[in-house]
C-alpha cells in the first residue's frame, strides 16, 4: 500500500465554488441532455424525415393503385370493401423500418463512438439514461407518425374521394387504424432500443431487430407447419397488422384477438428494455 500525501496541505480543502450548490442531475436534466444529443445529430433528422417520407409515399402509391384495382373486374369489388384509413396507413411497415433504425442508433451510436463513456460519467446510475432515451423515442415516434399520417391523409384525399374512401374523422374505425399504426410503431421503436442496448453493436442490433420486426414472417411463410404458423402470428408484423383494422381483429380473420395483439406488441417493447436495464447496470461501458 502506498500513500501519496501532499506535502503541506496547500489549501484547507478542495474549492467548492458557490454557484455550484444547486447543480445536480435530475431526470428532467437527463431528458434534456438526451434531446440535445438527439437533435444535434444529422442522422436523427434523416431517420425522421425518411420515416415521414416513406409513410406518405407508400400511402400515395396505395391510393394511386386504386385506379388499377377499379379497372380490373376481378379486383373492383374489393375497392368498395376497403377502408380509407387502411390505405393511408399502408406505409406503416416501412415506417417501422426507419423508426427501428433510429431506435437502435440512439444507443449503439453511443457505444460505437465512445460517447457512452461521457454519458455514463454524467449519469453513473445509467438506468435514467435508458428511461430518458425510451421516452424521447416515444415522443419522436408520436410526432413523426402524426406528421406522416396527416400528410398522407391530405395528399391522398383527391384520389380517395373519387372512390368515396376518404376516412371520416368521426368514424371510430379510422381512429382504430391510426391508433394501431402508432401503437405498433412505438412498440417497434422501443423493441429496437432494447435490442440495441443489449447487443451494443449497430450492425448486430439492426440485423436482429429488423429480422424479427420485418423479415421473419416472410421467411417463415414458406414453412407450412402448424406450430411455425402459430409462431409467425405472434411476430410483430402479423400481430400489429391485427391492430390496423377497422373492426375487432377476430372478426377480420386475424389469428390474434385485438387484446392479444396489444399485449404481444407491448411485450416486444418491454421485454428487451427490461433485460437491457438489468444488464446495463452490470456491464462495463
Amino acid at each position: 500500500m502506498s500513500t501519496l500525501t501532499a506535502d503541506p496541505p496547500t489549501t484547507s480543502h478542495a474549492a467548492t465554488p458557490p454557484a455550484a450548490a444547486q447543480v445536480q442531475p435530475t431526470f428532467a436534466g437527463v431528458m434534456r441532455g438526451e434531446w440535445i444529443k438527439l437533435l444535434s445529430l444529422r442522422s436523427t433528422w434523416w431517420a425522421l424525415a425518411s420515416t415521414v417520407a416513406v409513410i406518405t409515399l407508400v400511402a400515395l402509391a396505395a391510393a394511386a393503385s386504386l385506379n388499377a384495382m377499379a379497372d380490373d373486374p376481378a379486383l373492383a369489388p374489393g375497392v368498395e370493401q376497403m377502408h380509407g384509413a387502411e390505405v393511408i396507413s399502408s406505409g406503416f411497415q416501412f415506417g417501422m423500418l426507419t423508426i427501428a433504425v433510429l431506435g437502435a442508433l440512439l444507443i449503439t451510436g453511443e457505444y460505437a463512438t465512445g460517447m457512452i463513456r461521457s454519458t455514463f460519467a454524467a449519469v453513473p446510475t445509467r438506468i435514467p439514461v435508458l428511461a430518458a432515451k425510451a421516452l424521447t423515442l416515444v415522443v419522436l415516434t408520436v410526432v413523426v407518425t402524426l406528421v406522416g399520417v396527416t400528410l398522407s391523409y391530405v395528399l391522398t384525399m383527391p384520389q380517395l374521394s373519387q372512390y368515396d374512401l376518404v376516412p371520416a374523422l368521426d368514424d371510430p374505425g379510422s381512429w382504430r387504424v391510426f391508433g394501431g399504426a402508432l401503437y405498433s410503431l412505438i412498440a417497434a421503436a422501443l423493441f429496437s432500443l432494447g435490442v440495441g442496448t443489449l447487443l451494443r453493436s449497430t450492425a448486430a442490433s439492426l440485423t436482429a431487430a429488423l429480422t424479427v420486426l420485418l423479415l421473419l414472417p416472410g421467411i417463415l411463410s414458406f414453412i407450412r407447419l402448424d406450430w411455425v404458423e402459430t409462431i409467425v402470428s405472434y411476430l410483430p408484423l402479423p400481430a400489429s397488422s391485427a391492430l390496423l383494422t377497422t373492426g375487432a381483429a377476430e372478426t377480420q380473420g386475424a389469428y390474434l384477438s385485438t387484446q392479444a395483439s396489444l399485449i404481444v406488441m407491448a411485450a416486444y417493447a418491454v421485454v428487451p428494455l427490461a433485460a437491457a436495464a438489468v444488464t446495463l447496470h452490470r456491464r462495463d461501458a
Binding site: 500513500t3 463513456r117 462495463d284
Partner: protein
Amino acid sequence: MIEARELTKRYGGTTAVHSLSFTIAPGAVTGFLGPNGAGKSTTMRMIMGLDRPTSGTVTVNGMPYRQHRAPLREVGALLEASAVHPGRSARSHLRSMAATHNIKASRVSEVIEMTGLAGVATKRVGGFSLGMGQRLGIAAALLGDPRTLILDEPVNGLDPEGVQWVRELVRALAADGRTVFLSSHLMSEMSQTADHLLVIGRGRIIAAGSVQQVIDSVGGGAVRVRSPRAGELAAALAANGATVTSLEAGMLEVSGSTAERVGEVAFRNGLLLHELSPCRASLEEAYMSLTQDAVEYCAHTTPTTSRTAKTENR
C-alpha cells in the same frame, strides 16, 4: 481524494489490474506512469464507475463514483479514447452533458473559452485534430467545476503551446486544492508537471512517492568527485562503506553515498576537492529501469522508447 483498496480487474484469464492500493491526495498533481497496457486506463475507468472491479474498491472524495449525487461536480474526467460522437458539434456535446446536471449554458461557454475552442465550437467534432479533441475532453472534464480531475494522457496530441497550457492548468487546479490525477508515458512531461508519481507495470505498483523519491529509489544516483589526491580519497570513502570507481586520473565515481557524505569525508581527511557533483538519475532513466521488467514481459513487441514515440505522434 482518490482511494483504491486491493483494486483488481480481470478480463477472462488476464489480470489487467492486480490488487492496487493507493491514495491520491488533494492539492497536488499526481502522475500515473506506466508503459502501454500497464493498466492505467482500466484503473481510471474503474475510478469513474465505468468498469466494475473484479474485486477491491475505489472511492473518489470518500464515496464510490456511482453513489455521488452530482458526479460531474465531484469528478471531471478526460478518458483516453475521445468519448465524443463525431457527428455532433463541440458545443452540443458539452451542452448535452451540462443539461444532465442542470449546469448553466454560461458555464459551457466558459469552458469553451478556457480551452481555446471558441473558434470551432459549432464545428462537428469529427473534423477535429487530435489536439482539439483533447481540448474538448478537458473542457468536458472542467464542466462541473469538479474537486477531482482524472486526465488520461491529456497532453497526447497537443502542440508545445498546448502542452504548456495543460501543465499550467493542472498546476493551477492543484494549487486550488483539487485532486489532479493524470496519466502519461511521457516521463519528461511528468517531471515538470507532477508532484507525486504512481508508477505501475503489468497492473502492479512499481514505485510511488514524490518525483524525487521515485528517482532516488532507483540506485539513488552516484556522486562524481575530482581531487588532486584521488587515491587517498578513494581509500577514505571505501573505508566509509561507499563503492568507488576511478573514471580517469583524479576523477572518481562514488555510489552508495551522497555528495554531503563525500564532502564531509574529504574535509575530515584534509583532502582538497576540485569538483563534487551529484549525478541524479533522470526521471526517464528511473522510469526505464523501473519498468524494464514490466516491458520485458512482453518483449516480442517494440521496445518502450519507440512505442512512446509512436503514441506521441498518434
